[in-house]
Every structure is written in C-alpha cells, then in structure tokens.
C-alpha cells in the first residue's frame, strides 16, 4: 500500500512515517501543507492520503478543503482525515460520499494494527470513522426520525458499520454471533427503507442515511 502524509507538525509527520514503514506500508511522500499534498498526490498517485485537518497557513480547515479537492480530482483515491479533535461538521462535509473515506483521531495511531487496518479499508474503497466521530454523530442524530425506529442494539451495529467494520468484526466487538449481526443489519436496512441490492453498497447507503439524519 502506498501512502502520502500531509501533517505540519514535524514530530507527528516523522513519527507516523516511521511507524507505517515498520508495518511495511510504503510512505511515498510526507509533506507539511495542502499545496504540497495536492502536488504529491498528482505525482505519486498513492492508494491513500493521510491529511491533517489543520494545515498552514491559517491552521483552520485547510486539510478538509484539500481532502474535498482530492476526492473530486482523484476518484479512486482513499482519503483519511487525521485530526486532534472531532468536528462533526467536517465529517459531514466529507461524508457526502463515504466510500474510500476515513476520519480518525490522531491518537488512534497508537494501536498501529487498527490504524493500518483502517488505512487498508479506506484504500479499498471502504469507510473508517473514529468511534468518537460516530458517537458525536449519534449524539447529534437525536432528531432524526428514521433512526428513532432502531433498537439500541441496532444503533450500536449501525455505529460500527459507520466506522467501516465488517460483520465479523462487529460480532467480535459486541460479543454476539455473526448470524445475530446479519439479522440486525437486515433489520436496519428494512427500517431505513433501503432496497435489497448489492449488499456492500447498501452498507454505505445506510451510513449515508444515518448521516442525513444527523444533518436534518
């Protein structure tokens, strides 16, 4: 897997690059600002770009804007936004199309196995949302009517789906059988009124629906 990192703090940039290399991830470029990021992606055509939310010159949301551009200009590219804090508005802006997108808190790097797993999911067109982001989105989704019909367990499962987990991973995390997870997922699809089609795509749609609820 080939990765470009955009992070203005030299400590974090170098630390992350070192960690990823230890896990045999190829870091093809590590840059400090949004412009260099766009150039590096155009040059190296990586599988994933890891982008800090705050980048020079204003240290506000340059990273989010750069991520939006990357997703427009390079449809196949996975983008993992990487932040020290959770901003639901940023997640919502980027999640209009959750395929190949991730939003993680920086400290998740500490579990490098999980982190590389998230990178791989994003590179493969999946989703990786931080549990913190999911919790906030759930908190914000109180008003959403479609989501009100879900049981607490189904909400939990949907939250994990939003993080980008497979049924197997969800089953392990919630210590229930995979069959039970499948049942919950089917219920979620029915309750959210998602027609049966390509299942993989339906999972993304469920997350989207769920995010629409949060923005209602």
């Amino acid at each position: 897997m080939r990765v470009v990192i955009a992070e203005d703090s030299a400590i974090l940039r170098d630390g992350l690059a070192q960690l990823l290399r230890l896990r045999d991830v190829e870091v093809v470029a590590a840059v400090a600002d949004a412009e260099a990021l766009l150039a590096a992606v155009a040059e190296h055509a990586p599988d994933v770009a890891v982008v800090d939310v705050r980048l020079p010159p204003d240290q506000s949301d340059e990273g989010v804007r750069a991520a939006l551009r990357l997703r427009q200009e390079h449809p196949g590219l996975g983008v993992l936004v990487f932040s020290q804090y959770v901003e639901t508005a940023h997640a919502a802006r980027l999640l209009t199309d959750p395929a190949g997108f991730g939003y993680l808190l920086k400290e998740r790097v500490v579990d490098i196995g999980e982190f590389v797993g998230a990178l791989e999911r994003v590179a493969a067109g999946g989703t990786a949302l931080d549990p913190e982001v999911v919790a906030q989105l759930f908190g914000a989704s109180r008003r959403a009517t479609a989501l009100d019909s879900l049981t607490p367990r189904e909400r939990e499962v949907l939250g994990r789906m939003a993080e980008g987990r497979t049924n197997h991973a969800i089953a392990t995390a919630l210590t229930i059988s995979e069959r039970a997870v499948e049942k919950h997922v089917a219920n979620i699809f029915t309750k959210l009124d998602l027609p049966p089609s390509d299942t993989g795509h339906r999972r993304v749609l469920a997350v989207l629906k769920y995010l629409e609820g949060t923005r209602a």
Partner: protein, 424 residues
Amino acid sequence: MNRLRSLAAATFGRRALAALLFAVIAFPLALVGFVLVLVGLAVGGVLSVTTLGLWLIAGTVRGALALGALQRALARGLLGVEIEAPTPPTGAGVLGWRRAVLGERTGWRAVGCALATPFTAVLGLLAVVAGYVYGVLLTLHPLLKHLNHRTVHHADGSVSQVSLEFFGYQVDSWPRWLIPVAVGLLLLAVAPVLVRHALTPHRLLLAALLGPSAADRRIRALEETRAHAVEDAAATLRRIERDLHDGTQARLVGLAMHLTVIGELVTADADRDRVLAAVDTARSNATQAIADLRHLVKGIHPPVLDEGLPAALATLAADSPLSVHVTTDIRVRPTPAVESIAYFCAAELLANATKHSGADSATVTVTADGGPLRLRVADAGRGGAVIGAGSGLTGLLARVRTVDGTLVCDSPEGGPTVVTVELP
C-alpha cells in the same frame, strides 16, 4: 524682509485664514439660530395647549441639534477642534421620536447652545474687525486717504487735507503717516492671536454643550473597555487553545506514537540502538510537553502570583535578561484582578525594555497603600516609545482601562523611558 514674510505667513496663512473665516461665519449663523430657536420655542410655547405646539417645540429642538452638528463640522473643518458627536435621540415611530427629542438632555443642551452662541461668537467677529479690518485700513492709510478726509483751512490761508486726527494731532503727511502704518502692521501681526483667543469662549461653549455629556462619555468608555475585555478574553482563550493543540497535545500524540514505535521495534527484535533512539525521542517529547504546559500555565496565571505581587515581580525580575531592581511598598493587598493586570503590565514593559530600549538594567517600583496601585517601570535606554502605531503599549493601555486605570508613557528620543500605570 524675511521677518515680514513670516509675519505675513502667520497673519494670512491657511490656519489663520480658516480661523478668520470661522469667526466671520460663526456670528451670523449663531444669530440666525438664536432667532429661529427663540421664535420656535415662543410660538410652540403659546401653542402648547394643542399638540401642534409640542410638534413645533420638538422640531425646534431637532433644528437646534442640526445647527449644533453644523457648528461642530465648522469647528472641525476650520479650527481643527474635534468635538465628538453625542448619541442622537432615537425612538420608534413619530411619537417615540418626539418623546425622545423632547425628553433627552442632548436636545435641550443644543437648544441652550443655540441661545448662548451669539454672545460668544460676537467676540470672534469683534476680533476680526479690530485685528484684520482696522489693521488693513491703517496699513493702507496713505493710499486710502483720499477716500475719507476733511479739508482744513488754516489761519494763514493755507489749506490741508486731514484724514486722521488724534487729540488734535493731525496725521496729514509723511512722515506722520508712518504712525498709522506702524499701528496697522502691529494690529495685523497680533490679529491671528487675537482671533484665536476671542474664539476661546465660543469653542469652550460648543465643546461643553454640543459634545456628549459626562454620563454619555462614561457610557461610551465603558462600552469600549467592555468590548475590549471580551475580545481580550476570547483572544486569550484562542491563544491557549492553539498552544494546547499545537504544543502540548501534539507532543503527547508524538510521545504516544514513539511509544508505539518502541513497541514495534521491540516486537520485531530490532537492534538496541534503534530502540534507544526511539526512547530518546519519546523522552524529549515528554519533557517538551511538560515545559510547554509550564509556560502555558504561567501565561494564564503565574502560580507565584498567589504569594503576592512582590514575590511574583521578584521572579519576573530574576527571569529577565536585564538586571532589574524591584522596589515594592504594598500595605494593602490589591484585588487579584488588579494584581494580575499589574503583573502582566510589568512583564510586558520589561519585555519591551529588553527588546527595544537597548538598556541593560531597569527598575520596577510598586506602591499600594489602599488607594490606587502605582506601577512604575523605568529604563535608561534609548527612549522613543510611543502609545499606538502597533506598539504593545496600546494593548496594555486597553487592558488597564478595563479596570478604569491609566497608563502614562514618558519616553523622549534618547531616553530614559518611564511608564507609569495606575490601577484603582
């Protein structure tokens, strides 16, 4: 010759002519205002049994306000006297407007001004007549004598033309004409001063009655300082958030990352040096995070300030690259807010002295005996410090004003610099 030219420049210079123009305009303007306001009030008073009277009086007050605005503009444009505009009366709807106009002091002060100004404005006009008109007439007397003279037949049959006569002394020929010319030149020379002084009562009257009242001024000052205090607090929070986000938090994330790296290296049985290098980086991140936090805490509220201003200032002096001599005489301990502002003023002023003065020592003196706290920071550097022009002093002054304090900076070019802060 040069003297004459400079005299002419002073008498007929731009400033002098502007004052002259003001004096000439002010009186007729004041007179017209006086008559209109008086008539308006009188007729309005007579009609005040009907609502028409009230409307007329309100209109008169509004007119007086407009006249005041015109007078303020003239004073600003021609005399360079800045009189702040008072808050205009406002009310919802026409009835609200009338109530506001009739009920607020601003309008009645303008009416008072309109009734009083003719008496002060006339002084300016008299000064113009005495200084400029007579000055010009007397100076040009030898040329103008034909226009106004009388013919005198003397006993010996001779005839002379007398154009000026003082107590029987006839000014009728050279060199006697030198007298009026000299007097005229003298009058012209003093004319600008004369006009300026004659206008002083007028100027004071306008400032007293057309500017904002003391209460208005106080409200305005409070609004300004409150806005500043709010901005200051927001900016401080923002700075703290930035420092935490970019400094401490990033360091801690870095630390966690390097601990992970160490774990990975140990798991992979990497060689000892690589592990030790990663440990080193992790440790330096931890140390730096601690230092960042200490620095940040100091910027919010230095812990030593809890022990009182003397201890805090002593620490500040010890930290300063300058040799700082601190004298404190604090009999009554000030409130924490005042202590904190005094501390940050001292810190900022010492930092300024370090950066700009070029001096190698400074003195800090604090006295508080129940009255206002006085902080004095002095250095013998190159001076030239000014409030404004983006200097740190502007920020300090704004901070000091939030508690109604004052900041005076005395810093002539070449030094020394003495900044005195008083906090009530």
